[in-house]
């Protein structure tokens, strides 16, 4: 089939997407909430990658972060608390042709959904995961989360929280089949974009922990990090982040880190101050579960009929002398 050049150009124009094509409703997050920065980066990524809105699905659980799909103009699945991963896995397994993103929070992923999180890493299905980690339950009004710093005073821990914070990076890096781990912070939007983009381009379970501010319930948590760029450690590498000269001038605290080195990645991941930002680990060789399971095969009614008849043959008792000659026992 041939198409005149003008029509081709028209079609190109039609198919090309602008930022508005991904912008859903007006976000209802608090002003200054880190979620806004993540949304802006993701919408930019969709435009830059020219993702087809109808073939893109954002899956979330419950929490402030999980409102994310409502603000995208793609397909979205705002499910139940903690279960974003298995829903996303089911979608990807049924339809490997769809681009799947997961937006989850520190309560959603690291607390109620922690079991699914561990196994999602093992499955290594091709999806981009953003852990919106603000260290606190926001939607239910200030309770301690697994990533809250010890001593954090919240409505459920009025005398200060009792336990050391869970480190989502070291947990993820400890699971067999991990294939992509990165960390970003909401206050360096250029790097946030670069990291989400790298995650999107990695084929597998790309886990990005995004440290984000909650101006409502933890307003001063990251003040000193914002005030002092030295407290942010940028991980750079030819296979990782490459910084613009402007960024390099501001964030002088840099470390060359090869994302293929998992031992080093685990070491860096355990540091909390300065906060490491960049791609900690990437292994494109880990097989994706949907590939291992041959997801998305074409099935025709004839294909199913033949398979079913063969199965029925196994269990059939034939009348005397009526058994078909060609029967696979």
């Amino acid at each position: 089939m041939t198409m005149p050049v003008t029509q081709c150009l028209l079609k190109l124009h039609e198919d090309h997407h602008n930022l508005e094509d991904y912008q859903g409703g007006v976000p209802r997050w608090c002003s200054g909430c880190g979620d806004n920065a993540i949304l802006a980066a993701v919408q930019r990524l969709c435009r830059d990658e020219d993702l087809s809105p109808e073939r893109t699905v954002f899956v979330s659980g419950i929490g402030c972060s999980s409102r994310f799909p409502h603000y995208m103009k793609t397909y979205g699945f705002h499910g139940i608390h903690g279960r974003a991963f298995p829903v996303a896995e089911g979608i990807k397994m049924a339809r490997p042709d769809l681009t799947v993103f997961v937006n989850t929070g520190d309560g959603d992923c690291c607390s109620i959904g922690a079991g699914h999180w561990i196994h999602a890493i093992r499955y290594n299905m091709n999806m981009t995961v953003m852990l919106h980690d603000n260290h606190v339950y926001g939607l239910t009004k200030k309770q301690a989360s697994p990533t809250s710093p010890i001593g954090f005073k919240s409505n459920t821990t009025p005398r200060g929280s009792y336990l050391n914070a869970l480190n989502p990076l070291t947990v993820t890096l400890g699971v067999q089949n991990v294939s992509f781990v990165a960390q970003a912070v909401d206050w360096v939007p250029e790097v946030l974009y670069d990291i989400i983009s790298a995650a999107y381009h990695h084929r597998g379970f790309s886990f990005v922990r995004i440290i984000q501010r909650c101006p409502e319930f933890l307003p001063k948590m990251f003040e000193s990090w914002l005030a002092d760029p030295q407290k942010t450690l940028l991980l750079t590498h030819a296979n990782g982040l490459t910084l613009t000269p402007e960024l390099s001038r501001t964030y002088k605290n840099q470390l060359a880190h090869d994302p293929s080195n998992i031992d080093r990645a685990r070491e860096i991941a355990s540091g909390e101050d300065p906060i490491p930002v960049g791609i900690l680990y990437r292994n494109p060789e880990v097989p994706c579960y949907e590939d291992v399971r041959h997801a998305g095969q074409m099935r025709t009614p004839e294909h199913i009929r033949v398979g079913l008849e063969a199965e029925l043959d196994r269990f059939t008792v034939w009348p005397k002398n009526a058994e078909p000659a060609q029967r696979a026992v």
Binding site: F77, G90, P301, I304, F315
Partner: protein, 636 residues
Amino acid sequence: MNETMTMAPAASAGRRPAPGASPNEAVTLAEHIVEVISDSGEGAQRCGQSLGVIAAKMGNGIWTTEIIPAEIQPPARSVAGASGIRIRMGSGKVTNGGDETDLVVAFNEQALLGRVHAGELKAGCTILLESMWRGHRDPKIVASYVETVELLHKGGFRVYEVPLEDACSKLVADSRRGKNMFVLGILCSIYSLDLDLARDQIAVTFGKKDAKVITVSQGLLDAGHAWAETNLDFKYRIPVVPVTEPLIVVNGNTALGLGVLASGMDICAMYPITPATSTSHYLSECFERIGGLVHQAEDEIAACAFAVGASYAGKCAVTITSGPGYSLKQEVIGLAIMAEIPLVVINVQRGGPSTGQPTKAEQSDLLASCFGSHGDAPKVVMAVSGIEDCFYAVITARKIAEIFNTVVVLLSDANLATAQQPFPRPQFTEDWLAPPVDQTPVPAGALPYDWDSITGIARRFVPGQPGGMHTLTGLAHDRASHVAYDPTTNEEGLRNRSLKLAALQKTLKTPSVFGDPEGDLLIVGWGSTRGAIEEAVARARVDGLKVSSLHLTFLQPMASGIREILHRFKRVMTIEMNWSDRSEDELIDEDNRRYSALALMLRSRFLVDIDCWSEARGQPIKPATICRVIREKLSS
């Protein structure tokens, strides 16, 4: 099709050969119940399954029931370790496991005692008992054996001691693995079954193994047959109706698996749980060959959520579980109902609550299925009542789920899970299959929840459909799938999700009454008790009692016409395998009595004073027990 043969138990005296009768003269029987009992791992079940298939091939009706100890490796020679199988063979169609056993083959006396104590053997039952224990080197075992045989004789049982070990050790190195085929030979002789068919069946059973295994097994079969011909003084024949159409012989869980294949579903997401798991074992073996897959999730919740994700993406999926797993899935089931995603949930019920009795049957998840999940979460609940039903019900469930964009819960139970009964080989039709995933553009202005004002049904938009982009949510939402908390919108959603059940209800046929359309007593049942209830009703009717029965496949919604049926009987009672308070308990009165699940549902819907009788003994209710209940009810 629903006509059940009346199988009045033959008087046991009639089965004994007259003294001096030639062993070659077979006594004709209408039916017989046989058990093969052993320790776990001695192959009793394979022996019994083969016997069932051979009998079915000859044209007998059969129903096999597995006898499963609760432990994986119970101690050898223990009363609690009785493992085996029961085969009911009849001249006509057999719809349930029947009453007590007529003939049992036991590999040791302790496992046999387990069955005697359980009251499962008929008075005067014939026992073929492995005699090797009489010569055992451990004097305690010898003493136990001798004492038991004496007791059995005294108890009126007809005991034959059979040298299984001696005979088999001449033919195979490990006689523990060969006795079952020797016993199959004995049983073929006793029931005058065609030995060539038995040889063929062995070839099919061991088809995957090498030819040597088949030859050795056939040798054991022949030896067992020859032994019985020489040494036993009795023989039976159960008249057959020659098979004229191909029949499928599988258990309920395999039939469910075949149903999944035939329904066109692509994905089964599950987590291991007894007694549902063998369906997934079966599917894991064959599903991938036709492009489907079984996903063993990290837990029950994930299995359900995975299925919901797949369904949302356009491929209706199934999740299979049992009681505790069903409880765990409830929140996700609520999400599927709220967001209107099709989903099939199969619950092979076991004893509850909590871990309960994992290998035993109960019908105690009906209310959790109909009313579980928080909030108002209307869903369709169906129950299978036979093996054939297991196959077709999955196809129906998938269709309903996709037409109404809702959850369909399919209830089976541990009895049907392992019971075998032949049914006509299904004739495939493309109508069974799901339509291809809709990827056509959505018309401009169409909304993701454009509920029909009469039926409440809305067309669903699937990812990939241009113009259909929206965010599905478990929060209250309007037609555009926007989160909405205003009272009117909330009620609009509730109304439409509820209306869908009414729309389905209008399509349901009134279930037919078994027996006369009016009378003194109507028994209402659901699920696996169907065969036993109808057989009991048939027996009672032969005795002149005006009793009929009604069996429900759709528990939610319930078909029209049931109310009228209930009113045509003087009394109505349900018979169920679950708990209901017993009026003989001192504290129980009409103000506090807890009724069985179906009775409760029927009472609340139809305002009829419906009684119930139930037992929760973990095993199938026997037709004779139901007969007794019917008589008691009619004479009260």
